[in-house]
């Protein structure tokens, strides 16, 4: 039994122990709060110290390396020389000169003083003289007095002069000694220059204060209440090494920011970091700054390729960015896939329809082919851009009936008689098809080079593996001879095929048949109810988003506006019947074994699922109209990155890219060249040229349109060439097609070339370019000495010079084709302007091989050659000699 505790009266109870414990807890709590605030919540201090340490290590090792490379023998020698020079200052000659100079300086002082006094005296005397003149005193003697003083002044001046001369003489000796010392000092310092630089940097790094570093962007953006506000970025507080080249291989957060050329245009000191990377700028811990710990922060940091999304905040109208290849590719996909046909998308409001018009289909295809195509386009052509609408047979039949009805009154008629295609050789046709340029856009069978290089899952022009079963040979012949006959707005150009060439190609294409068998479906095409149903379906599904269809010209966009889609909250998204993947899971999309699909319930997860299978979130009650595309994982991620960029939160106008008139004109040209698929053959602005890998030698394929084409060709010539291409490089099999461009389109393309070559966007007159006659004769001499004619024909080509014309363009074109200043740069270094060109460089280290002309001086010889080449064209045009 426990002892009874003695009953202490309540007022005598001692709570001091309790108070002590509680005070201790309070004290410890306070101490913890202070420590937490100063240490735990300021991890950036540790990061800065870590950075400092790392940099000091690097600099130390660099300095040690520089020290070890120092030639100490030379240093010792130089030091000895310098010491000797300093000792020489004690020599008799020098000391004697210095003391003499000092004496002379004293004399100079005295003489100067006397000279000044004499001048004062002269002034005084002159006053007396004037006074005498005025008052009628003794002017003559006063004047004599003045003169006396003037004489004194002259004497003293002479003395000063002679003294100065003597001092100058002495200075020669004195300076000789002093200069020697200085020179040696400078040399010694020079030897230590690198070491000193490293030491200085080391000291500065050691003294670097541990402080918050921030960039303030005043008046950057608007709050939701239309108030302008600043943005503050403190990222460099932890990412201290972002600008330090020595940190290129350091671990995060010390790593140097990649792409310094890009940074020089977007200097973080005036751009901040969050405008490109998002995240929470003012935060000072990684979790809050990146948004991982702050779950309410609506713009967490962008990771992986998503970082290119923010380019669109300022560059919304541009489709090619030099340093953002994923951005460029994403926009290429959007343009090529025609997303703007159904969705309004910021920056793509004016983008053209990507599909052909459907107003004369009965003349082109059979109804049952059309039926199978509408039901599932990917069945005919796996890589077609047209997505699968997953239509039922009834729906497909109705649409077929409708389209056949729309096209029944089409005006198109074959101009040639039926059967005019007949008689071609399919073997020759195949050779033509593979060499003349068709393969740049159209794939057949196993030839996958262009498709592989393009690296996209969809083709820009139909694959022709089964074309023989789709269209009639008559139609094929009419089409390839002149595509604009059937479709006046087609992008397919004319290859200027002769009738024989066309027949051969038709014969070849006709052999490419669809070898599968299909069950026959009876199509009731004349049923007015079915036609009406087809019309309704076409309007519901929005076929007119890609295809021009008579009667639907005024229809609007059939689906939602995506211009602010990036800000949509995932809580507002419908996930249909999909299962949920947890947030910690690394996958975003998973196809389960029981046929269901699991998707991460976040914006990114929803979008991935939607792009992978647009019908994924369909439920019994809520159908989805978006058709099914077959993008691969990379394309989905790129499109998703693009959608991330779709937000109304953009910086104010002064922070945005200046999309001025010039930029607009260049961008128009860019879009036009993508529209006409110029980039399939020609590499432009770092993309395209997919066909080039088929050629072993660069010179055998289509030339790259470098950022120098605008600087190279004359604008009037380019205009004529694009209207009707002529042969420039006779050895090429591949042909530049005729695109039937309007004048406005040619002007757009010309401005594009000029713009990307940093030229003025204007057309110059070259006919009046003068030729300096002093260069003509030497130019001709050099032309012969350098044997240019071995490769370049310089006049009419006769038949026995066949091999020469195989090698280089005819130079009579030069005067009307090339810009005169370009010819100079070309002759100076052809490989710099067109890497891989066959044209060799003649000039080495500023001199040409033939020293008899202008003493071999490169600049003069180049001018002479240009003058001669220019005159060739003139001779031809004036038809003289």
């Amino acid at each position: 039994m426990p002892e009874e505790k003695p009953n202490i009266p309540v007022e005598q109870k001692d709570y001091s122990k309790l108070y002590l414990i509680f005070s201790a807890i309070l004290f410890l709590g306070t101490a913890w709060a202070v420590w937490d605030e100063v240490k735990v919540r300021r991890p950036w201090k540790d990061y800065q110290e870590g950075y400092q340490q790392l940099l000091v290590e690097h600099l130390d090792s660099l300095r040690a390396a520089a020290e070890s490379e120092l030639d100490s023998a030379t240093v010792v020698d130089l030091n000895a020389q310098r010491d000797k020079a300093v000792a020489d200052l004690q020599s008799e000659e020098y000391q004697e000169a210095v003391s003499q100079k000092n004496v002379l300086l004293k004399d100079l002082d005295l003489a100067t003083r006397e000279w000044r006094f004499a001048r004062s005296r002269s002034d005084a005397a002159y006053y007396s003289y004037q006074k005498a003149m005025l008052e009628g005193g003794d002017a003559a003697s006063a004047k004599a007095e003045v003169q006396k003083h003037e004489d004194d002044i002259a004497d003293y001046a002479k003395e000063i002069e002679s003294l100065n001369a003597k001092i100058a003489e002495l200075d020669v000796t004195i300076n000789k000694y002093n200069d020697q010392v200085e020179k040696l000092n400078a040399e010694i310092t020079g030897m230590f220059a690198t070491i000193n630089a490293h030491t200085l940097k080391l000291e500065r790094t050691r003294e670097m204060p541990i402080a918050i570093r921030q960039v303030m962007l005043n008046d950057y953006e608007f709050t939701p209440f239309q108030e302008i506000k600043a943005r503050i970025d403190r990222c460099q507080t932890c990412h201290a090494g972002w600008a330090e080249p020595l940190m290129a291989d350091a671990p995060q957060p010390y790593t140097q920011h990649p792409l310094p050329e890009l940074l020089s245009k977007h200097n973080p000191e005036s751009f901040g970091c969050t405008p490109c990377h998002r995240g929470q700028g003012p935060a000072l811990t990684a979790g809050f700054a990146h948004g991982d710990d702050d779950h309410y922060w609506e713009t967490p940091i962008l990771r992986g390729i998503d970082v290119y999304a923010t380019c669109n905040s300022c560059h919304v109208n541009e489709t090619v960015l030099k340093y953002a290849a994923p951005f460029t590719k994403a926009k290429q996909i959007i343009l090529d896939s025609g997303c703007n046909g159904c969705h309004n998308i910021k920056g793509f409001e004016e983008a053209p329809k990507i599909g052909p018009p459907l107003n004369s289909l009965p003349k082109k295809v059979q109804a049952d082919w059309l039926f199978r195509w509408v039901r599932n386009p990917k069945d005919y052509n796996e890589h077609t851009r047209m997505p699968n609408f997953k239509l039922s047979n009834e729906e497909a039949e109705a649409i077929t009936a409708f389209l056949m009805d729309v096209g029944k009154d089409a005006e198109f008629q074959f101009t040639r008689s039926r059967g005019s295609y007949a008689g071609g050789s399919s073997a020759r046709g195949k050779l033509l098809f593979e060499s003349v340029g068709c393969q740049a856009c159209h794939t057949v069978g196993d030839e996958q080079t262009v498709r592989t290089n393009r690296a996209l899952t969809f083709d820009i022009a139909p694959e022709l593996t089964r074309v023989g079963s789709k269209v009639s040979a008559d139609w094929m012949f009419d089409w390839i001879k002149n595509p604009r006959h059937y479709n006046p707005e087609t992008r397919m150009p004319s290859l200027r095929l002769t009738d024989d060439e066309a027949r051969n190609i038709v014969a070849y294409l006709n052999t490419l048949k669809d070898t599968r068998t299909f069950e026959r479906t009876a199509l009731d095409l004349n049923n007015p109810d079915k036609i009406k149903f087809g019309d309704k379906l076409v309007r519901d599904y929005g076929c007119f988003g890609c295809h021009a269809i008579k009667g639907t010209e005024n229809e609007g966009k059939v689906s939602v506006d995506l211009s602010d889609f990036g800000r949509k909250k995932y809580e507002q998204m419908d996930f249909g019947n999909t299962h949920e993947l947890s947030h910690d899971d690394t996958t975003e999309y998973q196809e389960n074994s029981d046929g269901t699909v699991s998707v991460k319930h976040s914006w990114a997860g929803w979008v991935y699922g939607k792009l992978k299978n647009p019908r994924l979130y369909e439920t019994e009650r809520i159908p989805q109209r978006m058709p099914v595309f077959t993008f691969n994982d990379e394309e989905i991620r790129l499109i998703r990155m693009f959608l991330t960029s779709m937000t109304k939160d953009v910086p104010v106008a002064n922070y945005q890219h200046n999309f001025n008139k010039r930029q607009q004109e260049i961008e128009a040209g860019r879009r036009l060249t993508q529209y006409y698929n110029c980039i399939q053959c020609h590499e432009m602005e770092g993309r395209g040229g997919y066909i080039l890998t088929k050629y072993e030698e660069e010179a055998m394929g289509p030339p790259k349109i470098f950022e120098s084409q605008g600087a190279k060709v004359q604008e009037p010539w380019l205009h004529e060439f694009l209207q009707g291409p002529t042969t420039i490089r006779p050895w090429l099999d591949i042909r530049m097609p005729t695109f039937n461009l309007t004048d406005a389109e040619i002007s757009t393309i010309t401005k594009y070339f000029l713009g990307t070559s940093k030229q003025e966007l204007m057309i110059r007159d070259y006919a009046a370019t003068p030729i300096d006659s002093k260069y003509l004769a030497p130019g001709r001499q050099l032309f012969d000495a350098y044997q240019c004619a071995k490769c370049h024909p310089a006049g009419r080509v006769s038949s026995d010079e066949v091999s020469a014309s195989d090698l280089a363009p005819n130079l009579t074109m030069a005067a009307s084709r090339l810009k005169p200043e370009w010819i100079l740069s070309w002759l100076h270094d052809p490989q710099a302007l067109q890497p891989g060109t066959r044209m060799p460089a003649y000039f080495y280290e500023g001199k040409g091989p033939d020293e008899s002309v202008f003493d071999g001086v490169e600049t003069e010889q180049i001018k002479a050659l240009r003058a001669h080449v220019w005159s060739l064209g003139r001779q031809r045009s004036t038809a003289s000699k």
């Binding site: 009266p9 309540v10 605030e37 003012p282 000072l284 809050f288 309410y296």
Partner: protein, 255 residues
């Protein structure tokens, strides 16, 4: 040496008279002090028994003081306009030294105060300390409870983030259903209540939560409600004294 100090004029002007430890002086120390005179000079024995009340009321008052002090410190950094409110909160969290500490203390104290107020209320009920003559004090206490909740509610708006705005929207939407005074309440429309002149409008300073609401709630939270709370607290403490001091068990009272 200390005695010498006591003889100086400076000392004598601060400490007007010496203290002699007599019963009278002990009583005077309490009664003559502006802060302490609300306390009783003497307490009954049972008052020292912590386990009867656990000092919940006192803790609530302590938390109120903490809230006031931290609140005043917060006021140095906060501007109650739509343009700055959120930014200033972020500034406080990121830039101000010990800013997070002050803000978190304020937040925790607020939650704790609501909790202790509830506990105090339960204790008062369970110990029957609402019985005569203490009925009026209970009423005052309920009013203080309402004020505490209103202070929490108004303070919640001040960070001006999504959580704040929507919470206040939901809360003030209830006001429109007030009878007679709300434009969707019984007899409200008959009295001419519309969306732009009913009690909800008065609360919000507009027809929806916006910058006027923020300012209004800020003034309410910092001045208006604390003033009323202080007045009622004064009455509450005074009534405790007048009604016989701190409650204790019946048996103990006899000692």
């Amino acid at each position: 040496m200390f005695d010498q100090l006591k003889k100086t004029e400076v000392y004598k002007s601060i400490f007007r008279h010496s203290y002699q430890d007599t019963q009278r002086n002990r009583a005077l120390q309490i009664v003559d002090n502006v802060f302490l005179h609300l306390h009783p000079v003497r307490v009954p024995r049972h008052a020292t028994n912590l386990s009867y009340t656990w000092g919940m009321g006192g803790i609530t008052f302590l938390l109120f003081l903490i809230l006031t002090i931290t609140g005043v410190i917060l006021m140095f950094y906060y501007r109650p306009t739509a343009q700055y409110a959120y930014e200033d909160m972020k500034y406080l969290m990121n830039d101000v030294p010990f800013g997070p500490l002050i803000r978190n203390m304020h937040r925790w104290a607020a939650h704790a105060m609501v909790l202790t107020v509830m506990l105090h209320m339960f204790r008062v009920f369970l110990t029957g300390s609402y019985k005569p003559p203490r009925q009026f004090n209970w009423v005052v206490g309920v009013l203080l409870l309402v004020l505490t909740l209103l202070l929490s509610f108004s303070g919640y708006l001040l960070p001006w983030d999504q959580l704040s705005i929507w919470a206040v929207t939901v809360g003030t939407n209830m006001a429109r259903a007030t009878p007679l005074l709300g434009h969707e309440g019984p007899l409200g429309p008959e009295l001419g209540m519309r969306i732009d002149n009913d009690v909800r409008f008065v609360l919000l300073g507009g027809t929806e939560v916006g910058p006027p609401t923020l300012l209004r709630f800020y003034v309410g939270h910092c001045i208006f409600l604390p003033l009323i709370a202080v007045i009622f607290m004064a009455v509450h403490f005074w009534r405790v004294r007048k009604d016989g001091g701190i409650s204790g068990p019946e048996a103990a009272k006899k000692i």
